[in-house]
Homo-oligomer: 324 residues x 2
């Protein structure tokens, strides 16, 4: 029998899941619509059909556990708590799945799952201290510190997207002001573009952007041909990002920040100016020591691999017995 773990990455729009062996090989990757307006049970039923189908047709595979990454996931309680964009309320996903499949089920939030994917199967294999930054609609972060994910008292630690970089800054959907993700994410870039348009309402490039469905690649292409407005977007974003990363660096002293997710595809267009900004905001003892890296994992894989690693790389019982 081939031992496999089911890694699931629940997103606001789509859910991706795959069968993963211990080396991180993905045997089969599938995607379903999350459909967050329906009750969570319907989602579980639809997912279950796919899982049952796979297991029936792959009788040589032994399911030894399920790892789940999801927004607003509580690692300690196993409950997904009022996730944004999903009308689910609280879902005890660990109990539901473990009762259905009689196996070990573990849950972590989506950015932590991505960080674990990077730790076990990506750029961070040799690192004990790094911070994963996922750039999409918002800014997520998974903090891997002193050799493990930092959860804090209530599993809600590590929300770098809600670090305030300006107490009088932009109003965030969380109710606070100046949150980093209001400057560095699709949401944040839109706000920056709006402010730029307020100053230059006739800017041709800025007016050509579809604000309902902002296309990062279009901005990247404009940067590459030297469009000043496009360059200014990244200048603003990278300055705020560099300042925010510096604060995290002062607190965590990491080896690296690793970028993942749609907007991280900008690569050095974003990372190069961010490096310059970060260095300018660091204390001398940290200058020149922190890498900014772009994840090499395929889009969608980091979360699944990290979720699966919750099972493959969980600590042995001995460690629990001696209180660690």
């Amino acid at each position: 029998m081939k031992k496999v773990v089911l890694g699931i990455d629940i997103g606001g729009t789509n859910t991706v899941f795959a069968w993963v062996d211990k080396s991180g090989n993905i045997l089969s990757l599938q995607e379903i619509s999350t459909q967050g307006t329906e009750p969570a049970q319907k989602f579980v039923d639809r997912l279950g059909e796919k899982v049952d189908h796979f297991l029936k047709n792959n009788s040589d595979c032994l399911l030894i556990g399920i790892g789940v990454g999801a927004p607003n996931a509580n690692h300690f309680s196993g409950i997904i708590q009022n996730p944004p964009n999903l009308d689910w309320g609280e879902v005890d996903i660990v109990s539901i799945l473990s009762q259905k499949y009689f196996c070990d089920v573990k849950l972590t939030n989506d950015a932590n799952a991505a960080a674990l994917g990077e730790k076990y199967y990506g750029l961070a294999k040799e690192m004990d201290d790094f911070i994963m930054i996922t750039l999409g609609t918002g800014l997520g972060s998974g903090i891997y510190s002193n050799g493990r994910i930092l959860y804090g008292d209530n599993s809600m630690a590590g929300e770098l997207g809600h670090l305030s970089i300006d107490p009088n800054g932009r109003l965030c959907t969380c109710g606070l002001k100046g949150c980093l993700e209001m400057y560095v994410s699709a949401k944040g870039i839109k706000e920056t573009i709006k402010e730029m348009l307020d100053k230059n309402p006739d800017d041709g490039f800025l007016n050509s952007l579809n604000m309902d469905n902002l296309d990062g690649k279009k901005i990247d292409a404009a940067v590459d041909r030297g469009n000043v407005s496009a360059l200014n977007i990244y200048k603003e974003v990278s300055n705020k990002l560099g300042f925010g990363l510096a604060q995290a660096a002062i607190l965590f002293s990491p080896n690296a920040f690793i970028f993942y997710g749609g907007y991280s595809q900008a690569g050095d267009r974003l990372l190069f100016p961010t490096r310059v900004a970060l260095e300018s905001y660091l204390m001398d003892n940290l200058k020149g020591k922190i890498q900014l890296l772009q994840s090499g994992l395929p889009v969608g894989h980091a979360g699944i691999l990290g979720a699966a690693s919750l099972i493959w790389h969980s600590k042995p019982l001995l460690m629990k017995a001696i209180g660690e």
Copy 2:
């Protein structure tokens, strides 16, 4: 034979040390002047005389280890690195003391030592996630996260005093702008008073303060009799502190912030308005969940006890053998 650990807290002006048993009982506490203008070897020699004297006169005591807390201490290398206020350069204190006394010697920075004192012998016994804040000339912090001190990649993590709360704020001695300790510490309070005096040069109370040797108790007494200028000092300090703590809370999700050191003697004069400010800067999922506490350990004891705990509570070899 009675097993004892020597706990040493090296400060910029004075060094306090004591013989500590496993329960945290202090058998004898002594103090010497650090004299940071002299070479470090002279300091070690003077300290050694006191240690030798004690051991000679207490032949029933067996020295099983030495724990040291010091500014700019690197826990991993055992070296004190260019401490401010001490013209020592780099001092390999762990090698020096272990070669002299043939026992286990461990080093951590002063604020981490205070945090460990609180963990093993103070208010944080039941906590796995808390942040110790030491308020003196500057603002030090020891971050205890997920059940252990957070060191980061180079042992320099957890510098909450250098979290920037304003990229255009007050210039810090570290070269950065807006560092929290430039608002919340003796240094910071002096800056606040200077700014208030710029606006109100004739303020009687502010003019009565000795800026070369600022007396916190005098400000506290003025607060207690309702002096508006004194109240405004704490209003400003607590607002900045609350904002800074909120950023740390968003990243670490701690049970508590515990305050220690000279200026923490202000107690609720500082903590009450800081609670109000902190709550206003927290996301909903953290509101009402984080305690602000004043350490109950006697002045000077937290660092010594925490330094001693480096020996008493070091992880057993088994843990190291299995890679933890």
